[in-house]
């Protein structure tokens, strides 16, 4: 499945991820508020995303089909690839290097943190 999302589709999916499960009517209101979209725009984008497999609209309730982290990971890779030819440029002050750690490493670090006794 192609995980590529353009900026506005991505923002729309964001609303779904933040609010799911969400009634389609409510979704329209949120899209208007956050993105300034008309009802027709919202429905056509929703239809497109459902066709692509990102979301589903069952009995007017909308839920996502792809977890946010997956799309995010893909998007970050894409971001670095397409914008920077493969690595964050040296002159940029970034929070971290963008290289994700595996769940196993994360668990290891989390246990280190838990063991730590705060003063």
């Amino acid at each position: 499945m192609d995980l590529k999302l353009y900026e506005y589709d991505y923002k729309f999916m964001s609303i779904i991820w933040d609010n799911e499960p969400v009634a389609s009517g409510q979704l329209v209101k949120l899209a208007l508020k956050k993105l300034g979209w008309k009802k027709s725009t919202t429905y056509s984008t929703l239809k497109k995303l459902c066709e692509r497999g990102f979301a589903q609209n069952k009995d007017t309730v909308v839920t996502s089909l792809v977890p946010r982290e997956e799309v995010q990971a893909y998007a970050s890779e894409q971001f670095v690839e397409s914008t920077f030819y493969g690595s964050l440029p040296g002159f940029l002050t970034a929070f971290f290097d963008g290289k994700k750690i595996s769940k196993a490493e994360a668990a290891e670090l989390k246990s280190l943190i838990d063991e730590y006794e705060e003063e």
């Binding site: 999302l5 900026e7 506005y8 991505y10 923002k11 964001s14 991820w17 977890p67 946010r68 982290e69 997956e70 799309v71 995010q72 990971a73 998007a75 970050s76 890779e77 894409q78 971001f79 670095v80 397409s82 914008t83 920077f84 030819y85 493969g86 690595s87 964050l88 440029p89 040296g90 002159f91 940029l92 002050t93 970034a94 929070f95 971290f96 290097d97 963008g98 290289k99 994700k100 750690i101 595996s102 769940k103 490493e105 994360a106 670090l109 989390k110 280190l112 943190i113 838990d114 730590y116 705060e118 003063e119």
Partner: protein, 404 residues
């Protein structure tokens, strides 16, 4: 081009030594707050950009002689280099191309980023949110903006913003750009790449420490960092990015951090000042500074009596010392006190022997010169002639000058 490349090459050599030193001191400071390590990199940057520094007797370059950071070496290389020689011209061109490539890449990357961010959602203050960013970052230099990816939870967002605010307050985003500029100039030097990577690490970790010092919880901050960095799928190895810091190292660092004891601060400050004094200074100049022009222009004054030496060498002929006399007359009374077979009263007969003897005395002169002064004069014959003119050897001189 070679005129620019050569100084950069020299500074790179000097800078390499300083970088190694900073790495060593940084190792000594590994138990101390990272701010000191971060500050130390400024010494390396200074040496990579400034060809000269204050002279000091405690400079390391008093002891490292083959590195072009001493006045003698500088004048020597200045005089002896031929910038127009082919290998140098080619290397300079390569160097310049490298810089151009790096700059072009950066400009393209910067504008692509701007385009990518134009749909970012404005939150408040100078904070924007954009989807699919690999990491939060600061962009812009005069009015910096913070960009964060979507989907951060409240804790993550809080700490990210605190962290980025420290960066902006400290001017890190400008320092990093500046560092990248220095790196571009010295792109051919792998130690500089290493220095840039380590400097970035120290920048990030000292920033974390500052956030913690301002009152944040280590555990909460650590967890936020980990959750932001976790991938749900297998993380792709990714290319090496120079200048960014891995999450593991950051977490381990904040777990080791504590408010530093006074003695750690004192030692760290001393080490920093020491490093600056020893590595940010040049060697003290030699007691008799060398200036090539002096040797050429001024007559030889280091040897006062060329003639008496030859008096000792030649038993057959005696040349009376006429250095104090401008005329060609000879004081024959002085000759009477000697036991030589022949006294030369008319100096016009001297030419050949004179020439020989003054040559030997001259070599003695230059040897003497070499002892006290590293650079010998470039035109010995002219000096020789000038001496003779002054001492009044008349025709001999005329013959020699026309033959020159």
């Amino acid at each position: 081009m070679a005129n620019l490349f050569l100084p950069v090459l020299k500074m790179s050599a000097v800078g390499s030594i300083v970088i190694l030193a900073v790495i060593l001191v940084r190792f000594l400071l590994r138990g101390a707050p990272k701010i000191y390590s971060y500050i130390l990199w400024s010494v390396a940057a200074f040496r990579l950009l400034c060809p000269v520094a204050f002279a000091s007797s405690i400079s390391i370059f008093n002891y490292v002689k083959d590195v072009p950071s001493t006045p003698v070496a500088q004048t020597a290389t200045a005089v002896m280099t031929e910038p127009k020689s082919d290998p140098m011209a080619i290397l300079s061109a390569v160097w310049f191309s490298g810089i151009v490539v790096l700059i072009i890449y950066s400009i393209i990357a910067y504008y692509r980023l701007k385009v990518r961010l134009k749909d970012a959602e404005y939150l408040y203050d100078n904070i924007y949110s954009a989807e699919g960013l690999p990491s939060p970052f600061v962009m812009g230099f005069l009015s910096p903006k913070i960009y964060i990816p979507g989907g951060l939870n409240d804790e993550e967002r809080e700490y990210v913003l605190k962290h980025e605010h420290v960066h902006i307050k400290r001017g890190d985003h400008i320092i990093k750009l500046f560092g990248f500029g220095v790196l571009a100039l010295h792109w051919f030097n792998p130690l500089c790449w290493l220095a840039f990577t380590l400097m970035s690490r120290d920048m990030e970790m000292s920033c974390d420490e500052r956030v913690l010092r301002d009152g944040s919880s280590i555990k909460v901050y650590g967890n936020a960092l980990v959750s932001m960095a976790t991938a749900t799928r297998f993380p792709s190895p990714g290319p090496i990015s120079f200048g960014e810091v891995g999450v593991k190292r950051r977490v381990k660092n904040i777990l080791c951090w504590k408010k530093p004891a006074i003695w750690i601060t004192v030692i760290s400050v001393i080490l920093c000042i020491g490093t600056v004094s020893v590595f940010a200074t040049d060697a003290k100049a030699d007691p008799e500074p060398v200036k090539p022009e002096e040797n050429i222009v001024l007559p030889d004054t280091s040897d006062t009596k060329p003639v008496p030496e030859t008096e000792e060498q030649t038993a057959d002929t005696i040349i009376v010392d006429t250095t104090t006399v401008d005329t060609t007359t000879v004081d024959t009374t002085a000759a009477e006190t000697t036991t030589a077979d022949r006294v030369i009263s008319d100096t016009t007969h001297i030419p050949e022997t004179t020439k020989k003897e003054t040559d030997t005395t001259h070599t003695k002169n230059t040897e003497k010169q070499k002892d006290t002064v590293p650079r010998s004069d470039l035109f010995p014959d002219v000096e020789d002639l000038m001496e003779m003119i002054e001492e009044g050897y008349g025709d001999a001189v005329v013959v020699e000058t026309t033959g020159d």
